[in-house]
């Protein structure tokens, strides 16, 4: 399996490690008690789709960038990869 790194091109799977669902980027603030349910869902609850899945991969043995990789969980086909930083910035985060 190869991952199309947005900066470095196609790179071998062995250079990467996997974290999980890309929704982990959107950590809720959870400063007030009523936010605790959202934080609980963020930490413990995951969708398990049979199909397209957006997930976080770390280019540990490469440039150490975090990527959001879109993968079909049924076929392992990689449909795209973006820098997680760009995804976070596009979502309105400051970094």
């Amino acid at each position: 399996m190869r991952i199309p790194h947005p900066l470095l091109g196609l790179r071998d799977l062995r250079e990467f490690t996997y974290l999980g669902d890309a929704a982990l980027i959107d950590r809720p603030e959870a400063t007030a008690d009523e936010d605790k349910a959202a934080l609980n869902a963020h930490v413990f609850l995951r969708d398990n789709p049979a199909g397209t899945h957006r997930e976080l991969w770390y280019h540990e043995y490469g440039d150490r960038s975090w990527l959001v990789v879109t993968r079909d969980t049924r076929t392992h086909e990689i449909l795209g990869a973006e820098l997680a930083r760009d995804v976070a910035l596009a979502a309105g985060r400051d970094r």
Binding site: L8, G9, R11, R14, E15, Y61, G62, R85
Partner: protein, 189 residues
């Protein structure tokens, strides 16, 4: 004052850099390479920094050096580089770089963190095919890729069609050397 006439050791633990040959290929330890990491802080200009350093700061997957070969930089991430000072391992290269780079950057000494090796030979392709998962086609003169070599993250800087420099973790210098030695033995079988 104590006698401080100490004998420097190379990353492999010898008093002189190790060299060996495998058929038409040679493997040598580069013991005198000074290194410092350079990171541009958020909002800074890479062009202005390159101008202050008198060094082209390369983009993803590349390295670039000055004409006289005294200074070069390897891209290690967005707005991050590993700056090489050939022959200056015994000097305060991080201090030198900090003085040249001015403000708005973060610099750390890296000389002792890496062990550097050089492979010279007729063709790098058979070496790269056996070294790790990097696509040999992606390794051309001027490229520098960090990839995995025998479970260790190493930078492969291609200096020419016949020369590949491998920068691996200094704390695992002997393992990196073993990986390269094994690879070259397999190439010349």
């Amino acid at each position: 004052m104590a006698d401080t006439a100490l004998t420097p050791l190379t990353a492999l633990g010898h008093t002189a850099p190790m060299t060996s040959t495998f058929g038409a290929y040679s493997l040598s330890e580069i013991a005198d390479l000074g290194l410092a990491s350079l990171a541009l802080r958020r909002g800074g200009s890479a062009e202005a920094l390159a101008e202050r350093l008198g060094l082209a700061l390369p983009g993803p997957g590349l390295w670039a050096g000055t004409q006289d070969g005294t200074l070069s930089a390897i891209w290690t991430g967005p707005d991050q580089w590993l700056v090489e000072f050939p022959g200056r391992a015994c000097e305060d290269v991080a201090g030198d770089l900090a003085a040249r780079a001015g403000s708005g950057v973060s610099i750390t000494e890296q000389t002792g963190a890496f062990a550097a090796f050089r492979i010279d030979g007729p063709s790098l392709e058979p070496v790269l095919e056996r070294l790790g998962p990097i696509d040999p086609v992606a390794v051309r003169p001027g490229t520098a890729h960090r990839t995995i070599v025998h479970h260790l993250g190493c930078i492969l800087a291609c200096r020419s069609e016949n020369r590949l420099d491998v920068l691996g973790p200094g704390s695992a210098a002997a393992f990196v050397h073993h990986a390269l030695e094994l690879t070259l033995r397999r190439v010349v079988v």
